[in-house]
Amino acid sequence: MNTEEILKNINDKFKTDVIDVFKKTETRATITIKPESLLQVAEYVFKDLDLRFIIATANHTKKGFEILYHFSKDNIGLIANLHVILPVEKPEIESLSNMFSATNWIEREMHELYGIVFLNHPEPGKLISEGNWAEGVYPYRREFK
């Protein structure tokens, strides 16, 4: 399965959930989806399309809290990013950690650095902030003028 087919499959299966598909190169692509559809799309990408989870990147921008879930299709060198934008007022999204363990730590880290809430996380304890900074302080958040 090549990049084109993978993107087409996701787009066809989740017509109403996909907001945008951006193919940067043959091996790099970003699929922007609705936050509420993350569980279904991620399950399809991980289990059916057999992509390996690499890591997730959170970022605080003027649009809100953006999360990129980076997946890899190793036999074609593809990095496919599932992109969601969460509103600043209510940065909540379902945890993927009940589906696979690899997101367990990074979701906790994103919570401690940005204050994003991962719903139904199986192990929502502190990962890096214990003794380092106070509860409710999110050091990677930005201030916009």
């Binding site: 940067k24 790099r28 990095i79 380092n132």
Partner: protein
């Protein structure tokens, strides 16, 4: 009711040069659960990188890890060059791969030594670290540094490997190969090591997929993944080599993968040295004006597995967001699978089997007089100096 005992390893423990805490919950000798605590040394490197220029960030990311200090600049360069659509010269590609593979050899040797030490087999520890020395000397010769080589920059390299040095590098590699054969043979054929590592700390294919483990940890469980081949960069597509895998998923399989990978690394270096001879000396940089707006993802296969860098550029001379994922981040979490059900004595080697990032750079310097070739200061001199100082202090009281 069986009494559960908590055995802590860390946060500061002689086995670990880095602060982290493993809590082993044991019933008798058997580990029933394991918890891990970190954050003792959170340095905020991702945030720091946003305050640095692209050139400065190379020095920053090089300091994420002392052992695989080239893997991060490697992945960062790949990410930034992807944003700018920059194609580096073949000579720079060869040098990058040579540095990357030398690093793999010295890191794997370091691991083999530590693994021997954890098992109480210190002969392996001493051999491996002794044979690692010439590799560090090579680094010193090429870059001026034994660690943190400061070789990478956007669009190429900071230093060339002069063609006149190639025969000497080859000579050191030839000597190393003989010693490495001895070490690999000793480890692979040793019945004690077989007994202590086979069937210990097993990770199944499903565990690897579930935890997204990478590198030798994944390859030892039959997952054929290596970004040098899968997402080609630097000189890896220009040379012949193969990805080493094993099926058992135990500590022995992880050792086997690492030991055999060193042969591939030597072969890659030799082919790259041949490649260097065909390229023009000094042709190691392309001109980079500025980094445009956009994003790039760079990957490099570190000795421990895939290093991943995501860089977001807003068109300025600093990254707007820089995400870094080191391989240990996903590999360490597999402890939950590899250690539970093991005895305490096997848990230590299972913990060490994924090669959690250790850094040891302590060494003694021996200076030679450039003109006479004589040692200015050797080990005995230093000990004599130390004894003299103690004597002086004693005399003061």
């Amino acid at each position: 009711m069986v009494k559960k005992t908590l055995i802590p390893i860390g946060p500061y423990h002689p086995l670990q040069e880095e602060p982290e805490l493993f809590k082993l919950y044991c019933e008798g000798e058997i580990v029933k659960d394991i918890k891990w605590e970190t954050g003792y040394n959170h340095r905020g490197i991702e945030k720091l990188s946003e305050k640095k220029t692209y050139d400065q960030s190379f020095f920053l990311v090089e300091r994420i890890c002392g052992i695989c200090s080239t893997s991060h600049p490697f992945a960062f360069a790949n990410a930034v060059e992807e944003i700018g659509n920059i194609e580096i010269t073949n000579r720079a590609k060869y040098i990058r791969s040579i540095i990357g593979e030398l690093e793999r050899i010295h890191s794997h040797l370091l691991w083999v030594g530590l693994a021997g030490h954890f098992l109480g087999y210190n002969t392996v520890f001493m051999w491996a670290w002794k044979y690692r020395e010439p590799i560090l000397d090579l680094f010193e010769m090429i870059s001026g540094n034994r660690n943190s080589y400061a070789m990478f920059k956007v669009g190429g390299m900071r230093r060339d490997i002069e063609n006149s040095k190639i025969p000497l590098i080859q000579e050191i590699l030839d000597k190393f190969k003989k010693k490495n054969n001895l070490l690999v043979g000793a480890v692979m054929d040793d019945p004690v090591l077989h007994a202590r590592t086979k069937g210990v700390g097993v990770l199944t294919k499903q565990d690897i997929i579930d935890y997204a483990a990478v590198g030798p940890t994944a390859r030892a469980s039959g997952i054929d993944v290596d970004v040098r081949r899968d997402d080609p960069y630097a000189a890896y597509p220009l040379v012949n080599w193969k990805v080493i895998t094993a099926e058992a998923g135990d500590v022995f399989a992880k050792a086997e993968v690492r030991l055999l990978e060193m042969y591939e690394s030597i072969s890659i270096i030799e082919q790259c040295l041949e490649g260097l001879k065909k390229e023009k000396e000094g042709d190691i940089n392309v001109k980079v004006k500025d980094i445009p707006e956009g994003w790039g993802t760079g990957r490099a296969e570190a000795p421990r597995g895939e290093v991943f860098h995501y860089v977001l550029s807003d068109g300025s001379n600093s990254p707007a967001r820089h995400k870094i994922r080191a391989p240990s981040y996903t590999n360490i979490a597999t402890f939950k699978k590899s250690c539970v059900g093991q005895t305490i004595s096997d848990a230590t080697i299972s913990l060490a089997a994924v090669d959690p990032c250790y850094c040891c750079t302590e060494r003694m310097a021996v200076a030679y007089d450039r003109n006479t070739g004589e040692k200015i200061m050797n080990g005995k001199d230093l000990i004599a100096l130390s004894a003299k100082k103690t004597e002086n202090i004693k005399n003061q009281f």
